[in-house]
Amino acid sequence: MVKNLKKLYWQISTTVFMVFFLAGCGADNGNGSNNALLNATNPKPLNIAAKGKDNAETIKKDVSSMPEIYDVAVIEGKKDTLIAYKVKHMQRFRMKTIEKKLNKRLEKKYPKENFTVSSDYKIFLEAVRLKERIHKKGLPKDKAEKELQKIIKLQMEMT
């Protein structure tokens, strides 16, 4: 009985180890949404707003210049601008301070813009997915705007 159990433990632990090990081997370092949770994706800023309002590029540069942040996705819509970012591992203890600092900086530089700022992985993932859908499937701008609003609504959810 004990021998069988030991065998079972070994089998379970080897299986768990192999699953994680092989999963690690299988992950390629592409920049797609498949790896957005694990790798730095650095997606290009996106502007789905009407012409004449294109701050996405400069906003991304501004946000990326913060030393605590390493991966930034910016989507500029008609009314709202979504900024999703990842915080460096050891800096994650100071998440709220970083968000406050970023909000202050953005409000000062772009007082007219309406920002939705999030460090949530899901929001980042959805931003990358939306960008992919626009580029690969040619999602029209009005639908893209609707999708952006959905992401912003998702960001507001607390429970």
């Binding site: 949530d120 992985y121 899901k122 993932l125 998702l154 960001q155 607390m158 429970t159």
Partner: protein, 158 residues
């Protein structure tokens, strides 16, 4: 206490010395390492479940906590029912009791233990014998903290 020790007969003293000699020392460090590793592994699985919910469902990092906890408790309940969790707990000790999976184990093991007493008085009455206090403490302390926060917000401190 001092008087009692004085009354120990030479035979008793001899026996105590013999007992001390043969007593097994508790391997505290080894137990800690085991608990750390298994507890960490459980948390790793929890993180994977959390990412699963983030990736394939409409849950954010903030909202994925609830379904993750439910899933982990459900897993541990199944494992307890199949008799696997007992062996893990024997090996890992606190490493398997402290994470939320220990909560599922506490409910189901009590339910299994009292199954012979019937479904209502046995299972129903004793299911929360161990976990009930945890739930009560959690709910009550959350209530107190929420009350304090509400008062602080009302007074404009926060």
């Amino acid at each position: 206490m001092g008087n009692k020790q004085n009354k120990v007969t030479p035979e008793q003293q001899k026996y105590q010395q013999l007992q001390k000699k043969h007593e097994l020392k508790r391997p505290v460090l080894k137990n800690c390492i085991k608990a750390f590793l298994v507890g960490g592994l459980i948390c790793l699985i929890g993180q994977a479940v959390s990412y699963f919910y983030i990736y394939y469902f409409n849950f954010t990092e903030q909202t994925s906590g609830n379904p993750t906890v439910a899933t982990m408790v459900f897993f541990s309940m199944l494992l307890t029912g199949f008799g696997v969790y007992d062996h893990i707990a024997q090996f890992a000790g606190a490493g398997s009791a402290v994470p939320v999976t220990g909560f599922g184990n506490a409910i189901i093991s009590a339910a299994i233990e009292h199954r012979t007493e019937g479904f209502v008085l046995g299972v129903g009455g004793n299911m929360f014998k161990l976990a009930g206090s945890v739930i009560l403490f959690g709910v009550f302390s959350a209530f107190v903290v929420a009350l304090i926060k509400t008062l602080l917000v009302m007074w404009g401190v926060l």
